[in-house]
Symmetry: D2
Amino acid sequence: MNAAIVGASGYGGETLVKLLSAHPKVTLKAVTSRSKAGEPVSSVIPAMRGVLDDMLFENSDPAELAAREDIDVAFLALPHGAAAEYARHLVDAGKKVIDLSADFRISDPAIYEEFYGASHPDVDLLAKAEYVMPELSDDAWEQKELFACPGCYPTSILVPLLPLVKAGLVSKEHIVVNSYSGTSGAGKQSKEAFSYCEVNESSKAYGLPKHRHLSEIEEQLSKAAEDKVIIQFNPHLAPMNRGIATTITVPSAGATLEELYAEWEKCYSDKPFVCILPSSTRPDTKYVVGTNRVDMSAVKDDRTGNFVITSAEDNLVKGASGQAIQILNLWQGWDETTGLI
Amino acid sequence: MNAAIVGASGYGGETLVKLLSAHPKVTLKAVTSRSKAGEPVSSVIPAMRGVLDDMLFENSDPAELAAREDIDVAFLALPHGAAAEYARHLVDAGKKVIDLSADFRISDPAIYEEFYGASHPDVDLLAKAEYVMPELSDDAWEQKELFACPGCYPTSILVPLLPLVKAGLVSKEHIVVNSYSGTSGAGKQSKEAFSYCEVNESSKAYGLPKHRHLSEIEEQLSKAAEDKVIIQFNPHLAPMNRGIATTITVPSAGATLEELYAEWEKCYSDKPFVCILPSSTRPDTKYVVGTNRVDMSAVKDDRTGNFVITSAEDNLVKGASGQAIQILNLWQGWDETTGLI
Amino acid sequence: MNAAIVGASGYGGETLVKLLSAHPKVTLKAVTSRSKAGEPVSSVIPAMRGVLDDMLFENSDPAELAAREDIDVAFLALPHGAAAEYARHLVDAGKKVIDLSADFRISDPAIYEEFYGASHPDVDLLAKAEYVMPELSDDAWEQKELFACPGCYPTSILVPLLPLVKAGLVSKEHIVVNSYSGTSGAGKQSKEAFSYCEVNESSKAYGLPKHRHLSEIEEQLSKAAEDKVIIQFNPHLAPMNRGIATTITVPSAGATLEELYAEWEKCYSDKPFVCILPSSTRPDTKYVVGTNRVDMSAVKDDRTGNFVITSAEDNLVKGASGQAIQILNLWQGWDETTGLI
Amino acid sequence: MNAAIVGASGYGGETLVKLLSAHPKVTLKAVTSRSKAGEPVSSVIPAMRGVLDDMLFENSDPAELAAREDIDVAFLALPHGAAAEYARHLVDAGKKVIDLSADFRISDPAIYEEFYGASHPDVDLLAKAEYVMPELSDDAWEQKELFACPGCYPTSILVPLLPLVKAGLVSKEHIVVNSYSGTSGAGKQSKEAFSYCEVNESSKAYGLPKHRHLSEIEEQLSKAAEDKVIIQFNPHLAPMNRGIATTITVPSAGATLEELYAEWEKCYSDKPFVCILPSSTRPDTKYVVGTNRVDMSAVKDDRTGNFVITSAEDNLVKGASGQAIQILNLWQGWDETTGLI
């Protein structure tokens, strides 16, 4: 299977390059970047020295890429708003598209506009797209032409929480989520605020009270609940490169901790990338960085009646590029873990 | 005024040594540590080289310290359980005691036992002690003989939250607090789990669901509310040395953001160590480390009806040693900021 | 090929576990640790959750391991002094041994005793052992029964420097090497001095003037020079987890920078794990962590007549476990890069 | 004494603002920054919240500043090339100038041009300027009108090395200096290469083989030696905010370690900001950050005949702003440590 990565100069794209260049069933045919066009991949991504020395970044436009016969699938690692034009050309040309941007994550264009501050770039194409959380989506998704990868925060939240909401084990109100993300979540930055001396030895909340990822989190939870679910989501920036630690406080709807764990086991016991930890063990970003796993555990506080659920993932792997490859593997009927750990 | 620091080899004690040795109205007369007795202060705390080269750590026992005529006030930087015996001797000898341990923070011995797993070491002395949050305690505290310094997490939570609870601006239910602390909060450690390679590039929750600091947080909130207040408190360990970033999600009790800010202004406009930031600015631990300040701001989410309040402090200064000195300053009638920034 | 890892609970062993469990031509049959015996590998090495959940740490003694028919090769990730006994039993039983300790790195037992402070644990076995720097050793090594892996610092120094010494391009005097190592180089630590708060935001030299690794560095350089070579080696501890940045200052023996690069090209142009960077590019530990590469470049200072050579490697991969696997691959005649990147 | 800080928005200027606003004998009258003019000091330097809330950054030009009657001394924290014009106006107006830039550090304009790539901006003013290393300069300096502060690297190198060169205890050849600097040494940066994710977990050399600071290091050493001294200087970037760890390898000129220490004691025993550590103790940046100290120690390697000397300082304090204030204190005849620790 021949693949292209569009917009590969950011951290998400870089991680895709690393994973796909080692994937046993994929040949990387094109790597594009407007700003790095003409440069060797291994000079922009020095970790690829000795591996991709002969490949150059291209500056192919959407039409050119769509016309390429040596490309079967394209991964879009572009900013929201920019992905849609590539997606349109590629889908029209019969290519499959795995989109890591936000452009096709939300089925309601009005919600997209509310959270992203611009009208949706291609409403028609939305109908051909599917938001794919590999462990949670039902089979129909594989028939679609465009697969929208969930965002990094949403993955760390929906994997533990969505089945509980769906099963009615937890309240749909008073859900509070706090996430602590490594700085790569902000992308490659050239702003003073993201310089080493400013981020190091610093912790802070940001994006309050209405971070963009709320749009897809709430849409997915609402679908699962068959009811409107609104949550409080408080993201924070942590002085580390990678990883998201998420802590969810949610009132139990009368369920016990055992019932929560039973539901998790039901959903995930055969899922290689979801690791259910004992209630006494707390997930740690350190142990998931570099893997495609979500680790998660829960406690119940009898004083408050709340469950406190914690999860950890690598924002660049399970939260982005690894999950994109997991989608490819499932779509192709390959072992879900091919090229992933 | 002549001071002793009892148990000065940890991070809290070290910070006290630094601050008191530069305090213009205090002479440091004794610095004790069982494990470091006989060693020069500047070899245990190398930052003090050239400043305290001639002072040695002592191993004075409670009776010896209490008998010293050259000591007016003692700061106890000891583990909970160990402070009470020193406090008893010192108070009986007519010394003032500023205690940084948990031993006299909670007025109800049953709560102490519930959270600290041992019966209270000196119930009688509790009556002579006062939990002093300098910005919030009323004047009577200065008459007591023992001043209990609030914990690091409680300070970062109670400063922003307590006045709002007291004024009835926020709900007493569904309060969720997430805090993110630098690793010095765990003290000087020789466990593998706190070694550099394990903590670096790692974020995780711990102490769920019933961290010890809950005992004093809930007691203070309950007194302010004149009602039982129970909260969810989720502490996290961050890969940085110092600082606590706290995020409080609390339903508004019908109050507007303007009313919240007005209440804060009423309480704190003349308080030098509380900095009320605009709603659009998020506190950052980086900017408070080394200072005795709490920075704080709030937003209101009209979708959920919640306030999201964030604060930042230095866990070793405002969360421990700086606040202890602030208490000394106020008790003595000195300018509150003497020896502090 | 069936493999055992002896002493797998440290960082070197952990990296071996990760690499060998994904190696396409190796089956991991046993993982031992005295302190962790009986515990699941994935609880001691949480990164292996979902991968090695069913494997337990063993506490097999040397004789037991040697008697195991399902083991063809053993990797020893033990402290110096402890490896020799395992090596003896395994070699006597006809197993191949790849030893990551220092026990068989130095051919002269007197030098071993001088630097390691104890008499050599098994002088006879030394004759069956070979110090294997895969890019530099000649073919005979593959006939030996025990392969001694070079140390982390020596690898970063010898790869760039040894060919230049051998070719007579540089002086054998006034060689000064400064290395900056991530803290994992000190192993898993439970000392206060290696706790997060002490190492973070700290840089310092240590081990001056006679670090143990000097013994193997000087022996190898002296063999290459056919003359006694003594160097100044200044190791430093850097506040990061992994990676070594080495800077070598060495007077040119009349050679030009072009001649230096020509020599490097001659030695390494077909070596997949040595990356010669242009003189204007400085190696960075960031780009080699996770890989088995040494990146290196050099400048010449016409004012001093010195070459300044810099290299970077991952101390746990090319400096330890990756190199051990590279040795396995070469010994077996497999592609050198199998299971490595 | 009334002071102005010109160019106060960088890390050096910020440190000056903090130190001078707390200095008991200085009143800060003006703080300038072209890019931040009009903004409150406490919004640009949030650590100053509550301390300098009412002061605004100015955009005063050189003539305006020179005409201000309320300014006695000006600290220039400007880039090289930009400082000279301010210095000229201020000196002509009879103000004293303490210049933290490189413009007046080198007495030979040809050397300035060689290293800074531009002709010297004001050769005439050089005659009125003095390079002031407070512990090493002789008394005449206080009569000059402009005091040039040494650079950060040079301070960490010259304090330990210069007296040894002057006394003939060490060779003037084969001197190799490796320094490892925190990232604040590169100033406030908005380049991707200095973003958190790029610097964190990374170590590398840079500026080889002819870093700008060589010009002042070699000029000072040559003056002390009364002979031309050329050294190899290898600076490195470390993943930490502040601090420089310097390691000097220099052949002994027949001197013993005791003679080296005796010379240091002779020079520095009464100097409050130079701390001579025992030969067995290695300086650590952690213990000097926030102070104006240089910590240093030395070993002798009898195998090579070299001394290996290590030092540590805070690049922003002793390496810049603290040393500038130390110069002010000495010039004014105040206690050298006023406002410093």
